[in-house]
Every structure is written in structure tokens, then in C-alpha cells.
């Protein structure tokens, strides 16, 4: 019987999607495959920028903790929600 495991990897948008996204410094995001565009706030923009450079959750958390004044449980909670939202929105046709 295989044990169900939660993979942190599964939180992140897949590598191909991250690579194709056009992200401007003002937080404007464009997905050339779906044609959808989005507005990210400053924190959201920083998160996606880091993920485009390194698709690594640990590194992402470390970098955000270095740059932002917040505790680890707030970071975990907000990342869980935000990354879910990003995955969901980028999946839409």
C-alpha cells in the first residue's frame, strides 16, 4: 500500500508555465498561451519573480524572510493560499 504524501513541489506552478510567463516590474503578468493578463501586487510580483529564477520552495521562503518583515506561520499561510490561487488562475482556459 503506498503512503499518501504531500509534496511541496505540488504547490508550485509547473516549470514550463513559469518559464513562458511575461512579468513586468509593475506587476503586470501576461500568459501568452491562455491570453489572460493579471495584476500582481508587489509581494505577488516578487514571489513569481523568485520562482521564475529558482523553482524551489525552500529558497523562496528564505528569500522572502530575508526581504520581508513577517513570521514563518504568516508566510506559510499566505504562500499556501497565493500559490493555490496562481495555479488555479493560470489553469483557466
Amino acid at each position: 500500500m503506498s503512503e499518501l504524501q504531500f509534496s511541496e513541489e505540488s504547490l508550485l506552478p509547473d516549470a514550463a508555465t513559469l518559464e513562458r510567463l511575461a512579468l513586468s516590474s509593475s506587476g503586470f503578468l501576461f500568459d501568452p498561451v491562455s491570453g489572460h493578463s493579471f495584476t500582481l501586487n508587489e509581494t505577488g510580483r516578487d514571489i513569481l519573480k523568485i520562482l521564475q529564477e529558482t523553482r524551489d520552495l525552500k529558497a523562496l521562503k528564505q528569500q522572502l524572510s530575508d526581504e520581508y518583515d513577517l513570521d514563518s506561520s504568516t508566510l506559510d499561510r499566505d504562500l499556501l493560499e497565493f500559490l493555490g490561487s496562481v495555479r488555479d488562475q493560470l489553469r483557466r482556459p
Binding site: T39, L75, Q89
Partner: protein
């Protein structure tokens, strides 16, 4: 060494949607305020808890004075009667009575409350379709201004008058078509059908009743001020007609209430600033036809009938706000953000028909997102705002809901949660508690447990299946 790290703002992503542009302009930068009537919101919450109703006594008094000024500068004889059902907190009523307002009540309970607050009977306007014999007996004995809703009440008053050997002055409530509002025909006597004139005839033929006042109340949150012009013309016309036909002498016309406040009704696209008439506009509509219709009577040396106003909402609504605290953030499957706050529809009854203004108490950063604001009740109907553009908020953030002074402190329910404290800001930013928050004792005070259901030492153990 100081921490140079940036403040964390909840990350957000908002999809652009075509065809949803607001033709009146782009999203405004969020406005915020951290004080209510000159008192810090944070300090209020720390001392009195959240949610918290906050009333500004000064604003309440200013509104009452503004109303009276608008009418008294256009018509020489005006009297204001405070509509108890709109907000019968003792502090609200007393402040308005100190401003010279009579009481307008619609039940035996409200009558008792007005008397307990020191209002003499002859300064109480007694309206409504249900007046019990005992409340009528008291009102008659104390000289209250009774306005009759139906024939059964008329006959009941006549029987009390005969029993007590009094001649009782009364008013009748009229209903009619203004052409601008739906006729509230369930209240009073209809003018067009002749019902009102029949009632006046019946009163004229009574040895113990006297028709002295005419009352009408055309609706609630009436946005078309022209409706009041039509109402004043019809009531004044009826007054002239009924005096001529029955020989009575009317000394007051009560135009009721119904003026809109600066709240946003759901389903109305334009903001209150653009659709709600000013008190001066309402006053102009009422007073001009009244003066025209009474011109002859003044020429004959008779006094003008007193104009009585029962304005509730437009006086109290923006004098009160509700502070509520964010308890959770959620993301809905359709992408909308949802915020759960600690004040629900049990204390904010008006959330069912208004899009209340929601004001943050700090400068919220981040892009505004479409957000639903839910209350704390475990009930699907507990929605404070169905849709509002709001930047991300944190748990513990406070929001100000306004205006909430009309009908919430009377229609609220003790349901699931305790009702919160109400405070009054007065003088130099002094704060007084005017209604205490509820406790378990408040809720259970009127309950009784039959002895066989009383808690025992055995509670918590499994029941004996043999019993």
C-alpha cells in the same frame, strides 16, 4: 541595528476581465479613517471590544437641527416627532427630546418607553395598526395624539371615550396614490375610494370623538422628492374638503417620515450623493403646496395647521457606525477573495438591503480585489457586502461600517452571537456606554427549566438505556 525589511502585504493576483469596466471611472485609491467622532478606533476597540456600535451625539443633534431648519424656514409652524422604531436606544431618544422632539411611537411598548424617558403624553404621537385597549386607555388618559389606522380602532377609542366620559381628539391616517410611490394601502383609510371621508363622517357624528389631525406616511427611503409634493397637496386638499363637509377643524398635518439617508440601496447603480434628495428639497416639496392650500384659511384669520414630521432614518442613520474586526481571509473557488468579520446580519439587519460603506482604519496597500464580506454566523445568509473592491486585509484589521444608525439597534437579533456594546461619543470626545454587551445571563434571563430538565450531577454520563 534596525530591521530594514519591507512590510509584508498579503500577496495577490487578479485576473483582468474585459467588459467589466466601471463607466464612472477607475478604482479610487482606498480611503481610510482611524477615528470616529474624534476618538481613536483602536482605543474604542481596546476598551469596549469588537464589534462595537459608535454613536456621535453631535452628529445626531446637528441632523435634527438641520431638518428643523429646512422646514421651519419654509413653513411657520413645524413640530418634529422622533420615530422610536428607527432607533429607540434611550440615549438617542433623550438627545432628540432635548432638541425639542416629541415621540412618535407605534406600539404599547414604545409608548411606555417614551413615557419612561420623560415624554409627557400630549407630546407622544401614537401611530400603528395595533394599539391594545390598555395602551389606548393610558394614551387617552394622558392626552396622547392618537392617529387611527382602521375602523375597529376607531370604535374601540369611542367606547373608551364613552366609558370615561371624555371627548377625545384624534387623527386618522390617510393612504392615497401619489403617482411616484407605491401606495401603502394597508395602513390607514383610503382617500380615492371615499373610505377616509366615511371615517371622518363617522367621527363627526360621534358625541365623544373629534377629528383634529391628519396623518400620512407614503413610504420608506423615498428617493423621488416629488412624491412629497403630491402627498402634501392631497392631504391639504383632503383637509379643506373634510373641514367643509363635516365641520371639523384640523389643527395639524402629520406628513410622516420616509426621507432617504445617505446609504446605498442594493440595486441602485448611482451612489447616494447623486440620488438622495437633500432635506431642503424634501422641505420645499412639502411646504410649498401646504402654504398654497392654506392661503384662504389664513386670509380668513384661521391659524395654519402645524406640520408634524416623523423623520427617522435621515436623522439618525449617519450618526452611528459599526466597528468590526477581520477574523479570517479566504479564497473562493471562483477567484474572489472573501473576508470574514466579527459582525453579522444579526446586528446589521440593514445589510440585507444596503451596500454599506466599508472603510478601513489604516492605509491598506496592495491592489484592490473583488471581495465578499461575510459575518461570523454559521448561516449562509450572513453576508455584509456581496461585492466590494478592497485591498488585502489582515486578521485583526478593523473596518468601519456606515451609516448604521437606522433600524439596526431596533431590528437586531440575539442570534448565535451576543449583541455588542453601543457607545455614545459626546462633549470633548467623551465616550459613554449606552447599551451594555450581552452575556449568557442576558440571553437566559427569561427562560425557565422545568425541574425534570434541570442539570444534575449525572450529566455527561451515558444515558441508562433501560429507562
Amino acid at each position: 541595528m534596525t530591521d530594514a525589511r519591507k512590510p509584508w502585504v498579503k500577496p495577490s493576483i487578479v485576473m483582468h476581465r474585459s467588459g467589466m469596466v466601471n463607466k464612472f471611472g477607475s478604482v479610487q485609491r482606498s480611503q481610510w479613517q482611524d477615528q470616529l467622532a474624534g476618538v481613536s478606533v483602536a482605543a474604542l476597540v481596546e476598551e469596549h471590544g469588537s464589534p462595537l456600535f459608535v454613536i456621535s451625539e453631535q452628529k445626531l443633534r446637528d441632523n435634527a437641527r438641520h431638518l428643523l431648519h429646512a422646514f421651519a424656514t419654509r413653513y411657520p409652524s413645524v413640530r418634529y416627532a422622533w420615530s422610536y422604531k428607527t432607533n429607540y436606544l434611550g440615549a438617542v431618544c433623550r438627545a432628540l427630546h432635548q432638541e425639542g422632539a416629541w415621540a412618535e411611537v407605534v406600539s404599547g411598548f414604545e409608548y411606555e418607553k417614551a413615557r419612561s424617558l420623560g415624554v409627557p403624553g400630549n407630546e407622544i404621537v401614537f401611530n400603528g395598526p395595533h394599539k391594545t385597549r390598555s395602551s389606548l386607555e393610558r394614551a387617552i388618559a394622558e392626552g396622547a395624539r392618537i392617529q387611527v389606522d382602521h375602523l375597529d380602532e376607531l370604535y374601540l377609542i369611542e367606547s373608551i371615550a364613552r366609558e370615561t366620559g371624555r371627548r377625545v381628539p384624534i387623527g386618522i391616517r390617510l393612504n392615497y396614490e401619489t403617482g411616484y410611490t407605491e401606495n401603502w394601502s394597508r395602513f390607514g383609510f383610503n382617500v380615492e375610494s371615499g373610505q377616509a371621508m366615511d371615517a371622518a363622517w363617522r367621527i363627526a357624528n360621534s358625541d365623544s370623538l373629534e377629528l383634529k389631525w391628519l396623518h400620512s406616511h407614503i413610504g420608506t427611503f423615498v428617493l423621488d422628492h416629488r412624491a412629497y409634493g403630491a402627498a402634501a397637496r392631497i392631504v391639504a386638499g383632503f383637509m379643506n374638503d373634510v373641514e367643509q363637509k363635516t365641520g371639523c377643524e384640523i389643527d395639524a398635518i402629520d406628513i410622516g417620515g420616509g426621507f432617504a439617508s445617505h446609504n446605498a440601496l442594493q440595486g441602485i447603480y448611482l451612489p447616494p450623493e447623486q440620488v438622495v434628495p437633500s432635506l431642503d428639497q424634501y422641505a420645499e416639496e412639502v411646504c410649498t403646496p401646504l402654504l398654497e392650500a392654506t392661503y384662504e384659511r389664513v386670509a380668513r384669520g384661521r391659524p395654519l395647521p402645524t406640520l408634524i414630521l416623523e423623520t427617522g432614518r435621515a436623522v439618525v442613520d449617519d450618526a452611528e457606525s459599526l466597528i468590526t474586526t477581520v477574523v479570517a481571509n479566504k479564497k473562493m473557488p471562483d477567484g474572489r477573495r472573501c473576508v470574514i468579520v466579527d459582525a453579522g446580519v444579526n446586528v446589521l439587519f440593514t445589510a440585507f438591503w444596503y451596500n454599506h460603506q466599508i472603510t478601513p482604519t489604516r492605509d491598506l496597500t496592495g491592489a484592490p480585489e473583488e471581495t465578499v464580506i461575510y459575518g461570523p454566523l454559521c448561516m449562509n445568509i450572513d453576508v455584509i457586502r456581496k461585492s466590494i473592491l478592497l485591498p488585502p486585509v489582515r486578521t485583526g484589521d478593523t473596518l468601519i461600517v456606515s451609516p448604521v444608525g437606522a433600524y439596526n439597534n431596533t431590528q437586531w437579533l440575539q442570534f448565535i452571537e451576543y449583541r455588542p456594546r453601543v457607545v455614545l461619543v459626546h462633549g470633548e470626545a467623551e465616550v459613554s456606554v449606552v447599551r451594555e454587551r450581552e452575556t449568557l445571563a442576558t440571553v437566559t434571563e427569561l427562560e425557565q427549566l422545568p425541574p425534570h430538565l434541570a442539570p444534575t450531577d449525572h450529566d455527561g454520563q451515558s444515558p441508562d438505556p433501560s429507562r
